[in-house]
Symmetry: C2
Subunit: 276 residues, 2 copies
């Protein structure tokens, strides 16, 4: 990744795009890595979820969302949505020429390859991401001997949005999705690395860890993406680093549910409604 | 409801509209009640879910979906989506003049009032339906002494789509959402009727019943709506009653997940992709 763009000097805000509130986990990680930068976040809440939609539809939505962010003067685009990262990066890069576009899949795959000793890597993601096989391709490009087992975990998305991270429902769902990875004889030896391949899943990291056990590495693609972005350029300190949020629907819900993902309070008055 | 329209003679197909596959529970009930009728079903899968979107957005989507069905020559429109029934019926009736438009909320409320002895009625629904208070209004209009307790159960939607109707996750979720209705001292005496106020929830009827116990009536708005529609008119027997499905995205997933809701196999080749 580091070779893809020359080291850049940024004073424009960083654009972050997701289908909804989940990408706020990526925004939180970016703010942690680059406290001096300003951000414009767009959550396409009117058309979420992307995870169950066709690649053509996801590409169309991603192009429109990116246009709205480019109009706001961003200097770099982070595609925080795993589904859009998996299918829309080539179209976005073609359409927006000079604008660096960073997805969450490549950094996640890189971190997984670095973390796994055995090369047996599990990817937990949405149906769309699993079907698109983007993590699988990105991991095998770096490590052709790797064995990737992908599991679609759509119920985790609803649990994260409901704030059920640490209750009996979350534990039962983690058991249903994750335990077979370690119990199924077809998966012997068991994976030694689990990629949380959806922005919502870091919130369930605790209950997932209870099933995996302490010897299995968990790769949080929000964190690994933020580190990749921070390494790309030098952010000039803005006088007052600013985070501005845009959403295509449901400002009140965006602020209420989004606060869980951002890990900080979000005032609905700081969220702007946009029509794409 | 029976007074709203004169008794009609139908030979045109019945249009059924939902945000996705959930409304296929209503289609299944309609086919059972009216085996001689033909149906055109539209699932707006490109823009689901409606349950978390704003009323303005849901109205806009519902009008476009209804237009597409009217272009197919329907003689009656069933709005199978609870969220759209709760907010879009007045706009639909205004826009489409003579076309009878039936939602799922009124028949569900009517059945709940008939089933409940105590007038203490619980409504399980999506966030959008609960926020819109449509069931509450419809129940109180019929029975001003009723006490309605509404619970938003968004995780049930994901469980129904995942096919987790009868496992530990479904039981834990039913316990988390439904048990407080019967344990919370503020809800004494406990409700004696539970409305399944989302098309997805009849699939979880079994685990919900385990929590409620046998003395609590469950109202399935799919069934009650189908009975209301059947009473509205006389369907002329078509030579070959036909069900045609339209979806705005993801034909393959529509057929695969939809079969669970329809309770019958669905061939992806029988589902037509439409762009609204």
């Amino acid at each position: 990744l580091s070779g893809s763009y020359r080291k850049l000097q940024f004073d424009a805000p960083v654009g972050v795009f997701d289908s909804g509130v989940g990408g706020l986990t990526v925004l939180a990680a970016l703010r942690h890595e680059m406290p001096q930068a300003s951000f414009v976040y767009l959550g396409d809440t009117a058309r979420l979820p992307y995870g169950t939609k066709s690649p053509e539809t996801v590409v169309r939505y991603a192009l429109r969302a990116a246009e709205a962010l480019v109009e706001r003067g961003i200097g770099l685009l982070v595609v925080a949505c795993n589904t859009a990262s998996a299918v829309a990066l080539p179209s976005l890069r073609q359409r927006f020429g000079d604008l660096p576009v960073i997805g969450v899949v490549e950094p996640g795959a890189e971190a997984a390859c670095a973390s796994s000793a055995s090369g047996r890597i599990a990817v937990l993601a949405t149906e769309g991401t699993v079907r698109g096989k983007a993590y699988e391709r990105a991991i095998l490009a770096r490590r052709p001997d790797a064995q990737v087992i992908s599991v679609a975990c759509p119920v985790f998305v609803a649990l994260a949005e409901e704030g059920w991270h640490d209750n009996a429902v979350a534990r039962a769902a983690a058991l249903a999705y994750v335990a077979p990875l370690f119990a199924d004889p077809r998966h012997r030896p068991a994976p030694d690395c689990v990629v949380l391949g959806c922005t919502h899943f870091p919130l369930l990291s605790g209950v997932i860890a209870e099933i995996c056990g302490p010897s299995v590495a968990r790769v949080d693609s929000a964190q690994t993406t933020a580190r990749s972005v921070a390494r790309l350029g030098e952010w000039r300190a803005a006088a007052a680093p600013r985070v501005h949020c845009l959403a295509t629907d449901g400002i009140e819900r965006f602020a209420r549910v989004g606060a869980r993902f951002l890990g900080a309070a979000l005032d609905p008055r700081d969220v702007e409604l946009v029509d794409l």
